[in-house]
């Protein structure tokens, strides 16, 4: 008859070497997923500036389309599925429109003659050529 302690202790002798291997892989996968999904990378907020001043701060969790007035006219900005982009802008070269969707924290899209910009911020800023 096994003692009570042996009966109720963790049956560690039943764990084979491969089990430890699989368990370690699963743990590493979980840690890696948590670090890459919860830290940095993903952005939470979009800061919309007009003429250098903050026009509005919007959470990325809600899909919206917003219109911002600049010296040349109206810039349209869309937030969709935790991403942001400038839909239309009166600036001649359309760089900010062609930049497409901004996904990660630290990404910024600037429409220069119209002085409108969208910047994503999150937990950590990714380095770019402006703030490195």
């Amino acid at each position: 008859m096994p003692s009570t302690a042996a009966k109720y202790s963790l049956p560690l002798h039943l764990i084979k070497r491969g089990d430890w291997l699989i368990f370690s892989c699963a743990t590493l996968l979980t840690i890696w997923l948590a670090l890459s999904i919860w830290n940095g990378g993903a952005a939470d907020k979009a800061i919309i500036r007009s003429g250098g001043k903050i026009f509005r701060e919007l959470p990325l969790s809600r899909d919206t389309i917003i219109e911002v007035n600049g010296p040349l006219g109206i810039s349209k900005i869309a937030i969709h599925q935790r991403q942001a982009r400038i839909i239309s802008d009166p600036s001649p070269r359309q760089y900010c429109v062609r930049q497409g969707w901004l996904k990660n924290a630290g990404e910024i899209s600037i429409c220069l003659p119209n002085q409108v910009s969208v910047e994503l911020i999150g937990g950590q800023k990714k380095y770019d050529s402006l703030n490195y």
Binding site: K7, P11, L14, G18, D19, F23, A26, A34, I37, A42
Partner: protein
Amino acid sequence: MTASIIKLTATAEDQHLARMAALALGLTVLEAAIPSPLPGVKPGLANIVTLIVLSRFGWRAAAWVSLLRVLAGSLLLGSFLTPGFFLSLAGAICSLLALALSQYLPSRWFGTISHSLIAAFAHIAGQLLIVYYWLIPHTGIAYLIPIFTCAALFFGSINGLIAAKFMDTSTPTPRGNPL
């Protein structure tokens, strides 16, 4: 008027599978009473039965027990054909596919705990795919993935350990062992 009788003959194997599915069903109903902080985070105690059946009677029997349990469990809990049912079904099918591959791992090195962990991770992968492509097509659900993998890691290990302990031949098995 003569009553026509449809007679279905159940072989001994059918009855055995049904018995084990019923056992798994009991655990499913038991588990439904446990409150969960997040929908989808559950211990999955019924999978202990699936794991034991897999190692004793092979993959085909395990698939029968698992799928019967999902079907009958949803009927008992009133969730048949609801999103919850399809989530369970997707999880069960993905787990079974993963187990179909993992049963070829050399048993000298890889035991029930390996199978349990692999099945648990396949289970959440299947469920998340259904959630993303059908129920909530929003990238925001990515934020929940680490919570689900933590639960899979924890409950996968525990269920594997329980199944391994149950099949351990070095300690005497309790009387009335239905498996």
